[in-house]
Symmetry: C2
């Protein structure tokens, strides 16, 4: 009997690619896959109300355990009985373990037991262990928690990556033993950098532990497209078929297509909101710079094919003006649009997969837009 | 026959005060008075979508002719056929003439004919005449335009104020002659600083010109409460009874009560949105600092009596967190709340006036809150 706190249903596999159509049932609702998860680092998807997030059909958001641990802090989250209540978000939440953030800090020190770093808030020394990361995620009350992994630079040498794979496995073991599900799913993370034998090793180690889902970590962290492509092609479909497969930090159309066609189901990225705040729109024809004076008089919506609030109500010229005046509404309107773009892209992918037309859909997407197939 | 592009209906005068309940019909919809007009300086009420503005029952917004003239500029506004289309705002818009902004700039030079100043954008010399201000407002396409007046410091000496009253009258005359209504109402502005005889002079001069409505200008610009009170008590109800009466730059609860009880119908102010962006909420009990650590664990809404999106969905503690992390959503949520507070305040004033209970409502408001009656 499967006693996982989430249920994964594999609905269909595209006949000509590895693309999968699935469904994850959580106690906060059902997620259709492939799914794009907007990032709500600090208990808010930047610039958007929950109401707007619901309007664009957001199914799940990702929150950062590390940031929430620093602020508002566990005492507050405990008092509010978790993040769902705190931010009044009723749908599923996935939390990362904090590993990626901690390893991005300067002067991080790693031992076999834990990672030691300085608080970016007050410089005090903090230690993070696999167990502590789970404690934090338990207080947050996410539907899906991630194990603490050792996330090193993907361009690191063989020995360093091998060491990180071993530590990642040891920590995954500790996490698996420590985790008391109580309604919260736990995903393992496969590391191994760009070395196929180490990826193989990590894959067999991590999948031996029977997690509720599996992630590919340590990709999309600065390596070349061709390198991520090689790993995704080799390992995407080696992850267990009966569990959700998540690739962390992916959000460009190019990487989303690559990930889905190689059997991945879930991805998250700050790209749509970050680009939006900086004035760039994602459209079905390619990227559009709303700060450019070329759109000053443009009465068309950002994207005529888009069904978002922004495209239904506002012109490129108006949004151009808002960015020229540095008005917050410009950032809001573009964040709405860009998130809706990513979400409608996975919605269309789902439909294509169901009809065994994923390859056709991908070809059409790239031939009718200026997005690059390879970056 | 009244050929004004707007119709003003005086519905009821409170039996015990000068408070009026009225209605202004424009081609973009009906405004119930007393009315609070959110300020949309740059073609956006800062941080809010039109949808949110509609949700809080915004009936009319104010836009700044001067700012819109600088950016996006008349060429863009003309291309978009006016501000309503440009920002997709379907309800009424009132534009100020630019006078207040121009006279706030350094090195402004005033002649009998015009005001000369340096563009804050590029330092180039710009001249503003009453006619040019109307041309700008015509391109903007507001429902209600304001004449260009001479707005000097309310603490200026007698001779300077007298001179400004005379110029204001000459410019009002020119405006009245030049204005080609074509669906756009034009309001005159009474100046005269804190001198009762000059206010009387300006009042008789301006009201002799049969504008579509009248404003009290040169108040709420830094003078003491007692001084504005004196002028409002003496002149509010001397403005023509059959036309809308507008007091510019008013938005605190104290000043709104004072204005309404002395017969004013319309006001605008950046106060609710500006306070909101800085972390202060207006509540029925008084001001509340959401940045204070006192509300860190507070699960209550900002105001339990409030029906806004923010109060229906979020706690003080959550908003505190957003401000601590400088997340835009905090500013958005507080702007929603504060505007709704001002708008629900005028809604309740309307009801009180209809029931001849304005004085009672005012007494109750100040006795159950920490707002000061005199500042």
């Amino acid at each position: 009997m499967d006693d996982s706190p989430i249920k994964f249903e594999l609905i269909h596999i595209d006949r000509y690619t590895g693309a999968r159509r699935g469904r994850i049932v959580t106690k906060h609702g059902t997620i259709e896959t492939p799914v794009f998860m907007p990032v709500g680092t600090n208990a808010t998807v930047k610039t958007l109300t929950n109401s707007l997030l619901n309007d664009i059909n957001t199914e799940i958001i990702l929150a950062n355990a590390f940031h929430l641990y620093l602020r508002p802090g566990l005492e507050v989250l405990e008092h509010f009985q978790g993040l769902h209540n705190f931010m009044n978000w009723e749908k599923p939440i996935l939390t990362d373990s904090g590993g990626f953030q901690v390893f991005s800090l300067p002067n991080t020190r790693l031992t076999d037991e834990k990672v030691i770093f300085k608080s970016p808030l007050d410089g005090s020394q903090i230690e993070l262990t696999p167990e502590k990361s789970l404690d934090i995620q338990k207080v947050i009350g996410s539907d899906i928690a991630m194990v603490l992994d050792v996330c090193i630079n993907s361009l690191s040498g063989y020995d360093a990556v091998k060491d990180s794979v071993q530590k990642t496995f040891n920590w995954a073991l500790r996490s698996k033993r420590y985790h008391n599900s109580n309604g919260q799913a736990l995903f393992g993370i496969v590391q191994g950098g760009l070395f196929e034998d180490l990826r193989n090793l990590s894959l067999s180690q991590i999948t031996s532990l029977d997690f509720d889902g599996y992630a590919l970590g340590g990709l999309a962290v600065g390596e070349k497209y061709q390198d991520s492509e090689k790993i995704l092609k080799a390992f995407g479909n080696k992850l267990p078929e009966n569990k959700p497969r998540y690739i962390m930090g992916i959000g460009s159309p190019t990487m989303m297509f690559l990930s889905v066609e190689n059997g991945l189901d879930m991805f998250d990225c700050v790209l749509p909101t970050r680009m939006g705040r900086h004035g760039t729109a994602l459209t079905w024809k390619g990227k559009l710079n709303l700060k450019s004076s070329e759109v000053k008089f443009d009465q068309k919506p950002i994207d005529e094919k888009c069904d978002c609030y922004t495209c239904k109500n506002h012109s490129r010229g108006y949004i151009h003006h808002l960015f020229k005046k540095d008005e917050v509404l410009g950032k809001i309107l573009l964040s709405i649009h860009n998130l809706r773009f990513n979400i409608s892209l996975v919605e269309k992918m789902r439909e294509a997969i169901e009809n065994d037309e994923f390859k056709f859909f991908k070809d059409e997407f790239f031939s009718s837009s200026t997005y690059s197939l390879t970056n």
